[in-house]
């Protein structure tokens, strides 16, 4: 049994190619129907996201299966030539991984090490959804089921043990994380947005996702503010009301094009007294700055400007890269473990065949002997049966243990040799009489 993984990702293929290959699978039922028709494939799973299109399969003829999948992918109607565009060469973009490499690659994908933004967690959900789909179409079997479950636990382990996703690597998300260390939770907190820039919107999106209580938008032109407020179910005010809003807001996100400071230290100091020192988190992503940097010196007030946040992000990138190195090591170990399991799987048919052959032979010999011996008491019959049984069991014990233990170890060291040994055992006991020796 071999594992084969074929696919393209953002590193090997341009977007046009990924788009087109992704279009092969708009209708999973049809796609699985076609995939299951391929002769060399026993189990199959595909998944396509914006960064990758990959097919993972179990096959007993690995090279043949890879070839079939390659043809399957290249059979796309638009692929060879789009008028006005140079032909895309699929062969250069396609990668084929087998066995250990395939498992490692799959683990890396699910743990988000192969992603465009390393450590972002969405991919695991996508793989889970793809697995659900494959299972619904009965495309997976014992091996892929086990591999997928292992994959989910490996991805979780990577997440908890390396902390790869713990550090925000975008400015807006970094701001959201900082706020969480100030407020704990965002529920019942009020966000005041000054100006309606793009980055502010993004941060607002994140905050909304955290379940922030109330949103207020203050803009120079009220009309634009009203529009944004409507989008986030908030309330729009004019910039003149800023000082009153200082009393109720908990988070202020500023990104106006104002050439001078909108808030001075004195204003915030007064507001803090009136708001009984409830903490205030200010994010200033405007250039030039909207908020007086001296505001940060006040008690219970936390001011972050764009450089502060970028500093946090850069630092988090370093941490994430370090975590990724740790994760790679973990994945390698887990992939080896999985291959060990797969190797033991290979010996089971042989063990079963051995046992069956022994049972068949002893039954036939027993019948012959019983016919010759004539009448026997039930005890005597039983004694003969037990004799045969224990003899064959003891005789087979060593070969079976050899297969279970030795093969397992040999598979780790040298897969080819392990395969040859398995073949030798089968020939020794003549388990495949139809194949010529």
């Amino acid at each position: 049994m071999n594992l084969v993984l074929v696919g393209v990702n953002h590193k090997t293929a341009p977007l046009e190619l990924r788009e087109k290959l992704g279009c092969l699978f708009p209708e999973p039922t049809a796609a699985y129907h076609r995939l299951k028709e391929l002769t060399a494939i026993q189990e199959v799973l595909f998944y396509s996201t914006c960064n990758r299109v990959e097919i993972l399969c179990v096959s007993d003829q690995a090279d043949h299966a890879a070839q079939e999948l390659r043809t399957f992918l290249s059979r796309h109607p638009h692929l060879p030539d789009t008028p006005g565009q140079p032909a895309i060469n699929l062969n250069d973009s396609l990668y084929v991984w087998q066995d250990l490499e395939a498992v490692q690659h799959f683990f890396r994908v699910a743990a988000s090490l192969d992603a465009l933004v390393v450590g972002e967690p969405q991919i695991l959900g996508q793989v889970k959804a793809a697995y659900r789909q494959a299972a619904e179409h009965r495309a997976t079997g014992a091996i892929l089921n086990r591999l997928l479950h292992k994959t989910f636990s490996v991805a979780k382990k990577v997440r908890t043990e390396t902390g790869i996703g713990d550090h925000a690597v975008s400015v807006s998300y970094a701001a959201v994380n900082l706020g969480r260390k100030i407020f704990g939770a965002y529920t019942d907190k009020t966000v005041l947005l000054l100006g309606a820039g793009e980055m502010a919107e993004l941060a607002l999106e994140h905050l909304k996702g955290q379940g922030v209580g109330k949103i207020v938008v203050a803009n120079r032109t009220l009309e634009r503010g009203v529009k944004l407020a409507q989008r986030f179910h908030g309330e729009a005010i004019s910039l003149q009301e800023l000082e009153d809003q200082l009393l109720t807001a908990d988070i202020i996100l500023s990104s106006t094009g104002s050439p001078h400071y909108l808030l001075t230290q004195e204003q915030v100091r007064n507001a803090m007294r009136r708001r009984k020192q409830r903490p205030l988190f200010l994010i200033d992503i405007a250039v030039p700055r909207d908020l007086d940097p001296k505001i940060n010196d006040l008690d219970n007030v936390y001011l972050y400007n764009i450089d502060d946040l970028q500093g946090v992000v850069e630092l988090n990138w370093q941490k994430r890269r370090a975590a990724a190195v740790k994760a790679e090591r973990l994945i390698q170990a887990e992939a080896l473990k999985f291959m060990d399991w797969l190797a033991t799987l290979a010996v089971f048919p042989t063990i079963i065949a051995l046992k069956e052959k022994a049972a068949r032979l002893s039954e036939a010999e027993l019948k012959k002997t019983l016919a010759q011996l004539g009448n026997l008491t039930p005890q005597q019959r039983r004694a003969l049966e037990v004799l045969l049984q224990s003899f064959t069991q003891k005789l087979l014990h060593d070969p079976i243990m050899f297969l279970k233990r030795h093969h397992h170890l040999a598979a780790q060291a040298d897969r080819k040799r392990a395969h040859l040994e398995l073949g030798l055992v089968r020939r020794l006991f003549n388990l495949d009489p139809e194949t010529p020796t």
Binding site: I182, Q277, Y304
Partner: protein, 277 residues
């Protein structure tokens, strides 16, 4: 102090310490859960031992420094367990468990009481005074530890330098709430301890207040906490100032607890507990 219940107390306390430190380093939730279990186990044995000893002595064992520390470790564990039930701040365990373990160890090393205690100490009223004081101290110790955590976390957020502690410590809001919670718990207990003590002094010694060093220092600590509570409720003090005051208060309490008992000549000192009237 030697008894079959001592080790079942001490071993789980050390186990809990190790687990909580592991939790602190790795951030794995399961360590923290086992830590809580260990601490509860140790606390159960601790309580049983205290009951046994109180019954055999006929009074609360608090007449020597070792005994007082042993009792305080118990109160600290009690306050922490109560807190984890109502207001869990997991990381606090990394301070409380080792502290409890060390206090119990210290009480084992310290000399046992040199003689029989004054019969004045054998009153139920006084036992109440001691229990109130020690539980109040424990709650206010947690407030002080929370204050230290707050200052560390606040400094990182202000300086925008995120170190080892940033991820491991809870949010400022939560640490500040801990301060308030423990103050609400500890301050009334401390007040009640002072009142019961004064009444007992009036009853046995003839006057409410003797300006004894321990009384004065306790009053200082009490005033610090009174200011903190007042400012919190009236002016809305919070955060850094509240954390600093909680730490000052804790310092005053430590000086009171250890200092007044050992350094000053006071009728509250352990030496005078041994005097016969």
């Amino acid at each position: 102090m030697n008894h079959f219940l001592i080790y079942p107390t001490l071993v789980p306390y050390y186990g809990a310490s190790a687990l909580w430190l592991a939790f602190f380093l790795t951030g794995r939730e399961s360590y923290c859960r086992f830590g809580l279990f260990c601490l509860s186990l140790g606390f159960g044995c601790h309580s049983l031992y205290l009951i046994w000893r109180t019954l055999t002595l006929g009074m609360l064992p608090a007449a020597a420094l070792g005994e007082a520390l042993f009792l305080f470790a118990w109160a600290l564990a009690a306050a922490f367990l109560f807190l984890s039930w109502r207001f869990p701040i997991k990381i606090l365990g990394a301070m409380v468990a080792p502290l409890a373990a060390l206090l119990v160890s210290a009480s084992l090393i310290l000399p046992i009481r040199p003689g029989t205690a004054s019969p004045l100490l054998q009153s139920l009223w006084l036992a109440g005074h001691i229990i109130l004081a020690i539980l109040g101290n424990a709650a206010l110790t947690l407030a002080g530890l929370g204050g230290a955590f707050y200052l560390i976390q606040e400094r990182q957020l202000k300086k925008k330098k995120f170190g080892f502690f940033y991820r491991r410590l809870p949010s400022l809001d939560r640490l500040d709430a801990l301060n308030f919670w423990c103050l609400n718990l500890g301050f009334p207990l401390l007040t009640a301890a002072i009142i019961t003590g004064s009444l007992y002094a009036q009853y046995t010694l003839g006057n409410l207040w003797r300006w004894d060093p321990k009384e004065v220092l306790t009053l200082v600590a009490w005033l610090i906490y009174a200011v903190l509570l007042h400012e919190r409720l009236a002016v809305g003090w919070r955060g850094r100032r509240a954390a600093w005051l909680a730490i000052f208060g804790l310092t005053a309490l430590v000086v009171t607890f250890v200092g007044a008992n050992l350094w000053f000549d006071s009728y509250h000192s352990f030496a005078s507990f041994m005097k016969q009237p």
